[in-house]
Symmetry: C2
Subunit: 444 residues, 2 copies
């Protein structure tokens, strides 16, 4: 009998869960500070809610659920597993419009399922961590979303991250000015977006393959790649003069984002990346990505998308969002040893030894004192056969194997003196502490 | 287009999520204090892992997932949605035996899916919240699990709960002594278990229907129903003398549980219920249930089940567990208004108003100060068209509609004086507070 998880799925053992909960906890706490609110939607959606929303390729990757009862024998599906948290958000906005605030700022951290071919780092069940602000066209929203993202990465211990921004309307205006045919906008942006991976020559080659004239490609490369402008404000002024109305609007939006972010945590990390395009087609305004120096790809990204949230109601509803790459963040933090030892590696702060054969009540009371003092306490579940007999061996070994940093013993002497012997399992040092002061001692 | 959730599924809007997270947070925190560790398994399991584990009725209620790719056209299923968290636990114990500690104490709080007919209070997606201690036969484990459960209910604000216990081996011994035929043990216990709902006459009637002789039924009713014995210790001694070896062992277990719990939070809530049987067939030792006075049914229950966890490896692995009825707890707490207002009802502690048309940077900086001070801060996203123009109307209304308790304004006077005007949205009172003291003021 196969006892592994299903293909492409993962079991999270306790240390995995603690790592995940730690990161999720930081993200949730930070976004709550910005008054974003949690939303949860069911894992199972009506198939018709999801189908046709993710393109042909996406449709194929949806896990479909067999009809039950009378429909079972037909082999047909009527339900499906959540594929992302954006379509459910659009559904929720359409369904509960009257109950939701005018500016609906929500975060949603839930697993999604995709029937992708599993490979290294790609799973069939993974978490999405999306933050979206719905209902306002103000760039203040962009500034707040980016500021919160910066807070998240700082609190997780990243120091070297960059928040790069660009604007879809600026890209389009530059493409227009350079003479790129409209039907090539999409493919050309996808190629330009790879500049940091395939280099200028690679971009040139791929643009030619897409059918872009060499001269147009040269102009584009001048405009979109290379180092950011030295004087951003001056560059913005020049650009604005030479662009169409959409381009002017884009420059104004970017100008505001840079200005507003100066008063937030994002300011110190912000940079313009003229080639940033982001893969998804639905962005309509500012776009952004969070990068760390030594990692290809990003730790998160997003942008403004004013036409997606209204898909079920047919309206245009302004929205800006960022998706933090939770699985990716976990991998990078693991590789860099960024998890605080105390939080994720140990199941308890201290283990209480059972020294006497028949005094479990004593140890239960003592464990209660420590727990009431806020400590996480393991009580070794089994009393020894004789007082103290081989206790040190078996019980101490157990604590050590589990990575519990301290072990507390009340034996004969301690009972007589009202003390507790506490052993530091790393250094081997032992201390005798009055029972009433153990909580304080362990907390210090 | 239907924009509701699928049948029997629920969307959790922000206040719902906050309520759920509050209860889950308390449960997780308490069990962590007892050194229980979190486990998470995938929502999707191989169909063969689940099938045949829940009986015929259970098998029918499993949501099955259609094969993808080449198998798609056959209409067959190879995967299924998690139906409970017990079978996955057994699978995990078999798969990772070498990596898990000798005493594996885990909690698992995850949704499960059942294709039940939806009805009031019964959903197709709901959370299970299971706590199990694997690997020890010591009654200390029972005492710790019950003590933690008591801590959970106390922290949630329940005062009137009872933890009732009984023992499967005691029940069996009493049935044997009363002359119940072995094949009727199961059905008879199910009937006895309903004593509090259908009364003594109802029990008598149903026992007769099951084919139990009237005399035997009378003996049983004497033995199993009615008030708990006045002198528990004395009663245990009498029982023990008149029972078979299994019965004697059961009495000894119960004696230990009552004794050990006196040193824990469970002691004050513990009672024997001689008719408690618990529905599931797999219990082999002590069983327990958590009840509140005015609620039919229980808020949680469990027991010792020494033969289930080894189902995949064919071993007998000792285990004791409790399942807390999360959905039920939420309903009762909602009805009784037990959720702390500040935690669940408001998305922010304070809203920062944008008074000036062109000073969003000022408000972003101020919001940052408050957030750095630990507050949850909503910044109204849109600046007014003119300074102060209609600000009070629109922005104050918005804060009020969202239930945000305080609104902070920096207008002309405040800017000149280095103060902030803070309005209490409930009382209407207004205070002028130096900007540097706003965090302290709001936290007090």
């Amino acid at each position: 009998m196969n006892t592994g998880p299903a293909r492409g799925m993962r079991d999270f053992l306790p240390e995995d869960v603690r790592r995940r909960q730690y990161v999720i906890g930081v993200i949730a706490d930070v976004y709550q500070k910005y008054a974003f609110e949690p939303l949860e939607t069911p894992a199972v959606e009506n198939l018709e809610t999801l189908q046709g929303k993710y393109g042909e390729e996406g449709d194929r990757l949806i896990f479909k659920i067999l009809k039950r009862g009378e429909g079972a024998e037909t082999g047909q599906a009527d339900l499906a597993l959540r594929y992302d948290v954006t379509v459910p958000l659009a559904r929720v906005v359409a369904e509960y419009r009257a109950k939701l605030p005018k500016f609906f700022k929500r975060y949603q951290i839930q697993p999604v399922w995709r029937a992708d071919r599993p490979q290294k780092g790609r799973f069939r069940e993974f978490y999405q961590c999306d933050v979206d602000a719905i209902g306002s066209t103000s760039m203040t929203v962009e500034a707040e979303i980016l500021s919160a993202a910066a807070d998240v990465f700082v609190r997780l211990g990243f120091q070297d991250f960059q928040i790069v921004v660009n604007h879809r309307k600026l890209l389009n205006a530059v493409l227009e000015r350079a003479g790129v045919p409209k039907e090539l906008y999409g493919p050309v942006l996808v190629v330009m977006d790879k500049a940091d991976k395939i280099g200028v020559d690679g971009v040139r080659k791929e643009l030619a393959e897409k059918g872009l004239a060499d001269k147009v490609a040269t102009t584009l490369l001048e405009q979109l790649s290379g180092a950011p402008p030295a004087n951003l404000s001056e560059w913005m002024g020049q650009q604005s003069n030479a662009l169409n109305d959409d381009g002017k609007q884009a420059i104004e939006d970017l100008r505001q984002i840079f200005s507003l972010c100066q008063s937030t945590s994002a300011g110190a990390h912000l940079a313009l990346d003229r080639s940033l395009a982001r893969g998804l087609s639905y962005y309509t305004g500012p776009i952004f990505e969070i990068r760390v120096a030594d990692l290809a790809g990003s730790l998160g990204g997003g942008g403004r998308y004013d036409d997606l949230i209204g898909m079920f109601s047919g309206e245009s509803i302004p929205a800006t969002g960022i998706s933090l790459g939770l699985e990716r963040i976990l991998v990078v933090m693991g590789e860099r040893n960024m998890f605080p030892e105390s939080v994720v590696s140990t199941p308890a702060d201290v283990m209480v030894v059972q020294w006497f054969a028949n005094r479990t009540n004593l140890y239960l009371s003592f464990a209660k004192e420590l727990r009431d003092g806020g400590l996480r306490v393991e009580l070794y579940p089994e009393a020894p056969v004789e007082d103290g007999k081989k206790v040190s061996d078996r019980q101490f070994k157990y604590a050590s194997a589990r990575g519990i940093p301290f072990v507390a013993v009340i034996g004969g002497d301690e009972l007589a003196n009202g003390t507790v012997a506490i052993k530091n399992m790393k250094t081997g040092e032992q201390a005798s502490v009055p029972r009433a002061e153990v909580v304080k001692w362990l907390n210090s």
